[in-house]
Symmetry: C2
Subunit: 190 residues, 2 copies
DNA sequence: AGTATAAGTGAACACCCGTTCACCAGTCAA
DNA sequence: TTGACTGGTGAACGGGTGTTCACTTATACT
């Protein structure tokens, strides 16, 4: 069993249980009989970057050992098992979510944003924020109704434009309040 | 400071440091002066579902308190602050990734799947697996080249079909090996 | 006013944690 | 063959951990 494999085993424990194993638990994990063996192994895994310590000395998963291995372009093909070590890994949560308190996941209804690649049933990750620019896809309340559209501006007036020629732009009669900005689109295949 | 707020503060610590705070650390977190106060608070947060204990009694984040709050349809609008408590939350990682060891993230190149809502620059979450069905979007190697297409079957023969009328279906001359199945598409706006 | 109940203090305790020390077996190079 | 190095055992230790007990203070309900 090599170093990489052992690091993976610890990180799998973390992913399962949402916490690091104690040295005594690692005894069983590796069939060791002395916590000192674990101690030495952990020190090596730390210098190797699999694990690390936070400010107060507690063991935490190493930087850049998130959940998914990221590869290059599709055309480039898959790397061999040997190369995999070099790859960057990341957690989707950390990658997509900037402010967890104000981030929400919505299911999309309707086909009004089809030309932006957003289809009925997709999930959109939105952030409640005041920092909106024209051109962003926003969730807004216009005249009492909720929709998701492009935010546009013409002669100083903001309006909403769908990404579907079958729908008409929405010029607010009374109120146009931007509630959230779409940060990402996630489509999951069953 | 109410219960919800205190639970959030602990979970924020967890999201920051990737581990649970100790009772002594929570002292500072809540400006308490006795670990017993923390103890009682934690017990309440556990019965409230914010936190929980794993098999060996260690403190872990409660079930269903992942990263993102999930809401209903866009048309439904945002709930008020009071209602938010009722919402389901989940971790994108847990939701999207089934087998972490064989899951990879690829950046899409080309427009051949545009009608499936997959555009150049999107990220696709793929899983190296043998369980492929016709109709799935797959990453495959045909005659030495790598592409992502729909997997189709006609008269017992498997071929690849793009989701773009400008491209032609690919009937393998020599080899067609399915490398991975596309499980999800993620488009991130900057 | 009286009294439960909730919420926090302060101290004590047993236990588990990570660390360390001394020691041993195998391997590989000089 | 010697010597250094790697990877493991076994035991011991100090400190941090969660828990518990007795007590105090504040809030709320008759």
């Amino acid at each position: 069993m090599n170093e990489r494999e052992r690091g993976d085993r610890i990180l799998n424990f973390y992913n399962d249980k949402r916490r690091m194993p104690s040295y005594r638990e690692m005894l069983k994990l590796f069939s060791f009989k002395s916590t000192n063996a674990v101690h030495k192994l952990v020190e090596k895994l730390i210098t190797a970057g699999f694990l690390s310590r936070d400010g107060s000395g507690h063991l935490v998963p190493g930087e850049g050992w998130g959940q998914v291995r990221m590869l290059g372009l599709v055309e480039a093909g898959f790397p061999t098992a040997v190369e995999e070590v070099e790859l960057d890994t990341l957690s989707l949560d950390d990658w997509l979510i900037e402010k967890k308190e104000s981030t929400y996941l919505l299911r999309v209804k309707g086909e009004s944003m089809i030309n932006a690649g957003i289809r009925e049933g997709d999930m959109v990750l939105v952030e409640k924020t005041a920092r909106v620019k024209t051109g962003d896809i926003v969730v807004a309340e216009v005249d009492g109704e909720w929709t998701m559209k492009y935010l546009r501006e013409k002669s100083g007036e903001r309006y909403l434009e769908p990404a579907n020629p079958d729908f008409q732009p929405i010029f607010p009669r009374e109120t146009l309040s931007i509630v959230a900005v779409v940060k990402a689109v996630i489509r999951k295949y069953t």
